[in-house]
Symmetry: C2
Subunit: 230 residues, 2 copies
DNA sequence: CCAAATAATATGTGCATACATAATATCTAA
DNA sequence: TTAGATATTATGTATGCACATATTATTTGG
């Protein structure tokens, strides 16, 4: 990282913002000025400033210029890992255990998420993810069979459905929600915790273009945390 | 967005990856080739590919080339809002209510987080955030007085400590953790829920350079979810 | 006086080029 | 044979330039 690199300049400017050189909401010098000051091309300053804007630290508008944000947006990024990797990262041995595998009419909430016709059938799976044989998380998943037909023949005792699907449709998009809920009878039994225990839950729905592939809830054992830098 | 813009090219390449044109793990054509194919400068392809790498879809190494990731990292991004804004976005009226304001010796866990000497004193605040008068979230916060001295004179009945601190040290960094836990007596009373109810919790520590400013836990009422796109 | 046309301006982006850098492949000498 | 030097190559990035675009300021015409 050179003295005049866009990264160096970005950090220098970040410093100046942190130090309060420009008040929150204030107009910063234009790209041309900064380029002059740092003895570099405007392109380079542009890149530095765009990066700071991505970070939510400044706000840029054509013709209007660049200002320091009044209230910088705190943006957290989480890498959502494969459970296998998550478990293996702790040094434990991973094994999925399939508790339920049925093809039944999907409840309305699920049908809506998978864009199924009401009363269409879907694959319903329940899995406990084990770390060194002990329950680590409980997964309740519905799969749109039309969108992933091969799953009926997949060896789900060995590879978790999550992993299998990821191999099939690796570059899908989706949405995630984080929440908490008390353990119901299923979760309680699967995770070996008291009913009503507070569980951290990740709720995901995944699609590839317009094919809604799967929706699932992942219930972690009490005490699980997910963390990140801001 | 032009046909030959870096964004257009990025999306075109994203499509080609999604469609499976290049297998997971496979080597993609080099920048020069793609530039040739898309009839644009290598710089433009470079920008498109860097963006896809940021998204965790591909992996790039000098000399070795660019490959499609075997298992793309699912990266969720959350904008963590001010509670005031979060509440007001629902159309409700926001009001913070300060329950506790004391300067006492910080417990070890807190002292560690704020990098305080053991048995140093810190400001301890407990606040209920109200939406239209009803409890929305409960905040338990510790502030390093040395790092934010003005807070002792701040009108915390009107502006929440969070907001006040954000005004003072707007460009701080920090870490965030999400978890779940049962409501204890304090949370139960403040949020008006049963003891043991499953609460979604955001746990944050904030610092500016080497000054650790504040650490807090935010307990949401049952049912709260945080969501995002992947 | 006000609305619409027009000019001015800061950021946004593409391009050709040159060189930097990291990783790999190949050659060379003991 | 093999460690070490050297060449090769794909990505990384800085630069000067031109032009695009969004937004604000100014002018103009009714």
């Amino acid at each position: 990282m050179n003295e005049r690199s866009h990264q160096a300049i970005r950090e220098a400017i970040r410093e100046r913002i942190s130090s309060g050189e420009w008040a929150p909401g204030a107009l910063m010098p234009g790209e041309a000025n900064l380029a002059d000051e740092y003895q570099c091309a405007r392109t380079t300053v542009n890149r530095a400033l765009q990066s700071l804007a991505e970070d939510g630290l400044i706000e840029r508008k054509r013709r209007a210029g660049t200002r320091v944000k009044e209230i910088p947006v705190k943006r957290a990024r989480f890498d959502i890992p494969l459970i296998r990797q998550e478990v293996e990262a702790t040094g434990a041995q991973y094994r999925p255990h399939l508790l339920l595998h049925e093809i039944i009419e999907a409840p309305d909430a699920v049908a809506a998420r998978l864009r199924l016709k009401t009363s269409a059938r879907a694959l319903h799976l329940q899995t406990v993810h084990l770390a060194d044989g002990a329950p680590y998380a409980f997964e309740d998943r519905w799969v749109n069979i039309d969108a992933a037909p091969g799953i009926l023949d997949a060896p789900l005792e060995e590879v978790s459905a999550n992993e299998w699907l990821l191999k099939q449709v690796p570059y899908s998009s989706g949405d995630v929600a984080f929440t908490a809920a008390p353990a119901g009878p299923r979760e309680s039994a699967a995770l070996d915790v008291a009913e009503g225990a507070a569980l951290f839950i990740i709720d995901r729905t995944t699609w590839l273009e317009d094919r809604h592939v799967t929706t699932m809830k992942l219930f972690y054992r009490p005490g699980h945390t997910l963390h990140s830098r801001v």
